[in-house]
């Protein structure tokens, strides 16, 4: 297979941000405390019936997410750097019940591990969370897969994507 850390293929970062009407201390705790995380993490209607948290550099958050239609999805965060209450670096991966790292359920060439850098910035009592997301130790093919999916998430491509959506609507 492809060599790791191929410098010729540059991964594009995926960035998502939201500002919350709450002080940073509160947002940080909601993001890093097991019980609090279980109250909100995951899309609408999802629950976390299982969650193990060992919040320290090198520690993990291992969870099972149950979707509204009853599908189980295991995931794992491995904390790499913790700068309370400003910054959190973690390695993201799909997982099994035992905590082993697994492939993406829908894509064999999705990066096995991705790196999330989450920053917490407070301004006038409001807190802005920004997540930067990129492949970690990925092969050229994994980077290409991430970029291909990622291009669909970006505004530069979304103009085109709207045209395609319009086309899909008629097809």
């Amino acid at each position: 297979m492809d060599a790791k850390n191929v410098s010729a293929s540059t991964a594009h970062e995926f960035v998502i941000s939201r500002t919350f009407n709450a002080p940073r201390k509160l947002v940080w705790k909601a993001w890093t405390d097991r019980e609090e995380l279980m109250k909100w993490f995951g899309p609408k209607g999802c629950t976390l019936p299982h969650a193990n948290m060992d919040f320290r550099p090198g520690g993990i958050f291992h969870y099972m997410m149950l979707t509204p239609d009853g599908k189980e999805m295991w995931g794992k965060w491995t904390f790499r750097e913790i700068v309370a209450p400003e910054k959190l670096l973690l390695v993201n991966s799909f997982s099994d019940a035992q905590g082993g790292i697994t492939r993406h359920p829908l894509s064999d060439s999705w990066p096995l591990e991705t790196l999330s850098t989450t920053t917490f910035e407070e301004r006038s009592g409001k807190t802005t969370i920004t997540i930067h997301w990129s492949p970690l130790n990925a092969s050229a093919q994994e980077i290409s897969t991430f970029n291909g999916a990622h291009e669909g998430m970006q505004t530069g491509w979304s103009g085109t994507f709207e045209q395609l959506e319009a086309y899909l609507a008629q097809a």
């Binding site: 939201r18 899309p43 993406h104 997540i131 999916a149 669909g152 899909l168």
Partner: protein, 123 residues
Amino acid sequence: MSPDRLDATFSALADPTRRAILARLALGETSVAELAAPFSISPPAITKHLKVLEHAGLISRSRHAQWRPCKLEAAPLREVSDFVEHYRQFWEQSFDRLDAYLQTLQASPTLEMKDKKNGRKKR
């Protein structure tokens, strides 16, 4: 949906020239010559891109007409669209839930969330 096919679609979409070709085809089917016109690359290079797109099932080429027009295929794009939408929704909806949770926390400073009778604080 098979992982192999989704992966082929992602690889195909990772290239800007191929995305531009798809964008052009979203307007309707056309010839290879017309597809090549806006790009400063050789016809063989365009043909190579078309082969990648065809392999991913993103386009098809008609065998009926001699000029073999290229046509956009909807199904793989819909799969990519669903995949991408899933990631966006994951975070947008998590953020919505976090926002609601943070509001609840601030509305009841004593965190007596189970006791709804005490939830009627001013502000």
